[in-house]
Every structure is written in structure tokens, then in C-alpha cells.
Symmetry: none
Subunit: 417 residues, 2 copies
């Protein structure tokens, strides 16, 4: 059986003025992909009859499943249900059961909206209801020319509940043996273009039912392998084979898979080795500490940080020598190294990470332009350093150097073993 | 002149499998709305020739402006530029200037990707480039049948930079007499529902061509006033009148306007008063320092922070007394106050901010459940504290308490005058 296809249509003016981000579409897309349904297009359209009918017409002509969200609330600007009836060429019908149920629900909360509720209780004749366990607007199922049309309210918890409890069983029932298997490989410390060049031949060798994508983000590049087809175990095997090939080629750049973050990977290694980390941050200004402490349980391996935004603190708390600061400057390999040694002592830890640099956008010199950043990691016995030359954007420089510092720590910890 | 219309088209398979959320579209939609352009549809389509051409054809037939994002990276899966050329019926042309510029950029970072770069340097003939100041892929401007087509890379900071610096001036140049005037009022420290209740009568009195929206985000609520019409100075006057009414009613909650952040507002007050700030963070784990140092020039008023993720550091570096920690615990008003006094001394500053609490999701007790957080701000003469009772979500608790701590500092600074 071939792959089923879908369109997602989000209805609502608030999406088109950017007031509300459409998080529903991405969530449904991920769910459908997991069910082996291929999403061909996502649309956000105005809450007007002509726009909704145009979108439904296009969708019904092209795909097997149409999922709409939004436009089902009780407020007066809602025309979605009437538009569905018009599109399907069926009449609206009053639903007394629905009226009574919602009336009870509203009265319980002290509301009085009888007239609005009466209008709200009309549905296209023959609607198959999809139960909403967390709100009043039900999901609805229609069909036209072999295309299933599923309509859900736009409130995320209601939509998710209907999707998980009603839509998934429905789609599974008439679903095929078609599968989409994904694997995400996480790298840090190298540019997308350089990785792409290293993997060129492997990617070119991918069979037709597999695809590969690069998703870069400040110091990191996610690599995504996807395989599609009927034979699930064969697909898993293919993913495994190519994942291994990629690991053989660029294993030194890979820090994790799927939902790993550089901070949780580092945290696991620190925990396993019963180490206590301290950080001394200048240009990263607390973002390393923030990344590390975003992980629940980090207090087991993280003692704290000294954020030294002035030379005075570098000297007094971290014990960087005045001579070093005078001779080499705050942004130097020597200062970064002394920050490591200093914070190891000050916070009584056995491993430390330090950063010092010019985050920008101003403050650069000819010898040390904006984006010059020194990273250092070490123990009392061994210190390693890395110099970065980044761009002029302050926030990008801060996050990129945070990621690359944690990656340097990761490599240091692994090489220590 | 009538309102201009636009379609937004996001290109990329990763959007359709839900792996990446399309934050670009909502951002662009908000910008365009602000410029008086009405967004008619947002689409996410596959990175294939036929899907891109279908979407462009529909858009060019319906609206004045088409904005596409994504599909402009250097990797081999990118076919966007070729597809644009085909759609516009023009040839691809090698651009040597572009090749040399990107080559220099990549070589500086030690990469070697000549062949790929050569292919990447082809553009549709006659492309008008929109300068990308933060990455290598330029924006592009084309036109067809009186519709402007603007193509930008999908990486958010690059897209935003091109939009703000290149696209906005372009759209303003041929813009109409239809105006949308907005004003954003920024509040911190109060819930959306409470603010809505306080402003109820003012919002009900708004004339028909004005609208009002609440945009809440972790400790902050943005209030947005919008007025639409032809008479620009009349609209500006209306916005001014209602902005003043709101300020009279809830001025104590307002920390700024438009693009202000709590960190830059605090930074300005510190600068004006020639004060030096130190922070001592436990549960916020560096996020206050990160907020403060995100502002360019912050080193003038920020000396640094001690992130004390263990009691040992609270005692040894910050001088919190062992007795206080034993008697009241690390999460207590007393500890927060001693952290302020301690960091003032340790970092030799004249004003300090401290946080200590249980960020969660675990670690709570009956007396001090998850989300219990103490904030303290002060000088050597006066210390003020605030207790928060937040929820169970670690990242939300960290960011909310960061915002409320900086807001406490803001109010302390203003009350000192």
C-alpha cells in the first residue's frame, strides 16, 4: 500500500497577524509522520468562507487526509462549521444532546450564554463526532471524494486530546503498513558546509527511499536520516547502517542523538565520573552556567560559577595574576588558563571550564577583533585551550561559544578516560 | 490607496515532519501587519520543484507581496534557487563576487569546500540581492506580474537581519496611505487576568478602528494597542491618548515600551546612577547574569556574579553564615539577604541582587514546595526581599524568577531616588 498524504489547515486571523504562533501544525505534523502519513503542505488561512473553501478544495483534490484546527469556538466570529456544511453541500442541523451537555457545563461555571449556545449547537448534518475530553467543542469527521476531513478546535490541549484519543485510532484502523523511520545525529564544533563535504559520498549513496538533511544552529548541526517504506525492520536496518557509516566518518563531531543536548551529555559524563565542575565565565556572561543548570539534577555535579566581568574580579576572586593581565590582556590564552586554575581553587572543584573574549558588537582591536574568544578546560594536572574567531553578533557569539566550550569540556572528559 | 496583501511561504521538509517549528512565519506576519500589509495566507511546503512552483503560482495570482523563507543553504538538498529561476523563466548565472566572498569566509574558519561552493554561487540572472549581514546566504528580490517576490534564508537571525535592514525600507518606499500604528506597553510582575480586570473599562471604550491585545510571557505581559486608518496623525493621537490612560491606571507595572527589555531598562538606570551591580544566583543558575550581559556595554555597570549552586560556596565565597543555613535553610529570606551582603563585599560593588529557591521539578518539601523562591536586592544600607511561589516547571521557574528579580531591582532603584 502506498504512503498516505495529508494537508494541515490552521484557521484563524490571529495566526496571520503573527499574534499567535501556530504550534498545533508542527505537533500534528510530527504525529502524522510517526504514523507513516506524509504531510504535503501546512497552511494558515483567514477565518472567512472563501479562504476556507479554497483551502479545502485544494486539499481534497490532492491528498487522502485533511486536518483543520481552529475556528470552532462559541464566539460570534466563528463561521467554520457553516463553511464546512456549504463545502460538503449538506445542511446544518440542531443537536439537542450537545446543547444540553454544554448548558450543564456552562451553568456549573456560573455562566449565562443561552442564545450563543443555541447557535453553537448547530452542526453539519451527519457529522461524526470526535470526543473532546477537555473542552466543549468536539472534533468532527467528514469525507468527500475519498478524502477524510478532520476538524478540531485550535486550543492546544483540546486538539491534542482529540488527536491522541480519537484521531490516532481512526487513522491506525485504515492504515497501511507504510512506515517512516527517523534518526537524528547531533554534532558540535564544525560548519554545516564542512560536514556536508565530509559526508558527500555517503549521502550520494543513499537509496531512493532515504533522505538526509542538515539543520544548523549556532555551533551545532543536527543531521537527520529518514527512511520510508513498507518493511519496518528493513528500514530500521538501513537507518542503522547509514548511521554507523556517518559515525565512522565524523564520530569525533557527534555528541549525541535525538533529544540530547550538549549540557545533558556533559552532565552524564560528569556524574558517571563523580566529578565536580566549576566555571569561570567572562564573555559568555553566565550562559554556560544557565545551560548546565537547565538540567534537572545538575546540583549533583555542578558547584557554581564565578562570572568575572571585570579584571578586578579576575584578579581578586580567581587569582589571575596582575602581570598576566597586563602582559597578555584579559582576552588571552594565559588568562583563560589562570581562570581555570583559579576557579578550581576558589570553588574547590576537580574540573573547570573558563571563557574570556570579546562578544561584541564593539570593543575589538586590530590584534583582537570582535569575536576573538579563548576557551580553557582543565584539572589541576592538565589544561587545554581553544581559540575561536566568531562574527560580530553579540548574542550569537555568546551562545556559540557556550556550546563550543561545553563541547571542549566533553572532549576533554572523554580523552581523560 | 488600499491595503497591500501578502503570502508567506516557508520552504523545507523539516517543517512538514514537525521537527522544526516555523517561528519565522509568525514573526514576519507580525512585522508585515505593523507595516500595514495584510497577510492572507501562510504556507509551509516541501522542498521540491513542483510544490514550490505551485505555491508561487497561487501567490503571484492573488497578492502583492510574496515572502519565502528557507531552502537557501549550501548543501546539496537545496533546489530553491533553481526553482525560482524556472518559475521566473530566467537562467542561472555564476556570481564570482559571491564565490570569492564566501570562500574567504569559509577559509578563515579552516574549511575546504570548493566544489560545493562553486555550485552555491549560481543565482537566477538579474537577481537583486538583499544583504545578509550575519550569514552567507543573501536574500533575493524578484518580481512577476506586479507581485514582488522576496526570498530569504530560513535561519532566524539571518532572516530577521535581512528583513529589518533590507525588506522594511523596500516595502516602506512604495507603501500606501493606509497606516497601522502600534504601541507596545511592557509590564512585569502581574498576571494577565489581573491586568485585564484593571483595564476593562478602558479597553471597552476603544473606538472601532483600534484593537488591544495581551501577550503574556513568563513574568511579563506585553500590551499592544493598534489603530488602523488613513489619517496617520489622528491615529498617533488616538494611540497616545489610550497609552496615557493605561499608564495612569497601571504605571507601577510598566517597565518600558516597544523593544525595551527588563535588562536594558535596569542597565540604563544603573548607568545613569553610576552604580556597579553584582549578583549572587542560586536557583536562577546564571540566567540573571546572562540577561544582564546580553546588553552590549553592560561591562560598564556589571562587575559579575557568584553562582552558588552549593552551600559550601554560599558560605565560603559569599560569607552566608553556617548558622543561618542550618537554622533557616538555603531557601530562606535570611539566606537571600546574607547573599546580597556577601556578594557586595566579595565583588566590591554598591548594589546587589540575589536569588535562592527550588527550581524543580523535584526537591520540594511540605514547607517549601517546588517553586518557592526568595529574591533579595540591596545596598549596604537597605535590603528588600520578595517571596515567589511559582509552578513545577524548571525552565519556566528559572526565567520567571530572573525577570521578577530584575523587576525588583528596577523598583528598588527607582524608589531610592
Amino acid at each position: 500500500m502506498k504512503e498516505k498524504t495529508a494537508y494541515l489547515i490552521s484557521i484563524g486571523d490571529e495566526l496571520l497577524i503573527g499574534q499567535v504562533k501556530d504550534t498545533n501544525a508542527a505537533w500534528i505534523a510530527e504525529q502524522l509522520t510517526g504514523l507513516g502519513v506524509s504531510v504535503k503542505k501546512i497552511m494558515a488561512v483567514q477565518d472567512t468562507e472563501s479562504e476556507i473553501i479554497d483551502a479545502l478544495s485544494e486539499a481534497v483534490a490532492k491528498v487522502d487526509i485533511v486536518i483543520t484546527t481552529g475556528g470552532l469556538g462559541p464566539t460570534i466570529d466563528d463561521i467554520t462549521k457553516k463553511t464546512f456544511a456549504k463545502f460538503l453541500n449538506i445542511e446544518m442541523e440542531y443537536n439537542e444532546e450537545f446543547y444540553n451537555k454544554v448548558k450543564a457545563y456552562v451553568e456549573m461555571r456560573g455562566g449565562d450564554i443561552k442564545e450563543m449556545l443555541y447557535n453553537y449547537s448547530y452542526f453539519p448534518k451527519g457529522t461524526i463526532f470526535l470526543k473532546n475530553r477537555v473542552g466543549s467543542a468536539p472534533g468532527m469527521l467528514f469525507s468527500k471524494n475519498n478524502t477524510k476531513i478532520i476538524s478540531m478546535p485550535g486550543v492546544p490541549p483540546e486538539m491534542k486530546s482529540i488527536f491522541v484519543e480519537e484521531v490516532i485510532p481512526l487513522l491506525n484502523k485504515d492504515n497501511s503498513d507504510f512506515h517512516i523511520i527517523k534518526k537524528t545525529i547531533l554534532t558540535a564544533g564544525e560548519l554545516e558546509a564542512v560536514i556536508a563535504d565530509k559526508l558527500k559520498d555517503i549521502v550520494n549513496d543513499l537509496p531512493k527511499n532515504m533522505s538526509f538533511a542538515y539543520l544548523p544552529n549556532l555551533g551545532r548541526v543536527r543531521l537527520r536520516l529518514t527512511a520510508r517504506g513498507n518493511n519496518k525492520s528493513k528500514l530500521e536496518q538501513l537507518i542503522q547502517i547509514f548511521s554507523l557509516k556517518i559515525h565512522e566518518r565524523i564520530g569525533d563531531l557527534i555528541f549525541g542523538y535525538e533529544d540530547d543536548t550538549i549540557a545533558n551529555v556533559v552532565g552524564k559524563i560528569l556524574s558517571e565520573n563523580q566529578l565536580h565542575l566549576a566555571t569561570a565565565e567572562s564573555c559568555t556572561g553566565g550562559m554556560i552556567a544557565h545551560f548546565v543548570t537547565s538540567i534537572s539534577g545538575s546540583s549533583a555535579y555542578y558547584k557554581g560559577s564565578v562570572i568575572a566581568y571585570s579584571n578586578e574580579i579576575k584578579e581578586q576572586i580567581l587569582g589571575v595574576s596582575h602581570k598576566t593581565l597586563e602582559k597578555h590582556g584579559a582576552v588571552s590564552e594565559e588568562t583563560a588558563k589562570e581562570m581555570v586554575s583559579g576557579v578550581l581553587k576558589a570553588l574547590n572543584c576537580n574540573i573547570a571550564l573558563a571563557t574570556t573574549g570579546i562578544a561584541g558588537p564593539t570593543g575589538g582591536t586590530k590584534e583582537k577583533p570582535v569575536g576573538t574568544i579563548w576557551l580553557a578546560v582543565g584539572t589541576k594536572d592538565r589544561i587545554e585551550t581553544l581559540k575561536l574567531q566568531l562574527g560580530k553578533n553579540r548574542l550569537k557569539n555568546i551562545e556559540t561559544s557556550t556550546v563550543l566550550a561545553l563541547n571542549l569540556l566533553r572532549k576533554f572528559l572523554l580523552s581523560k578516560k
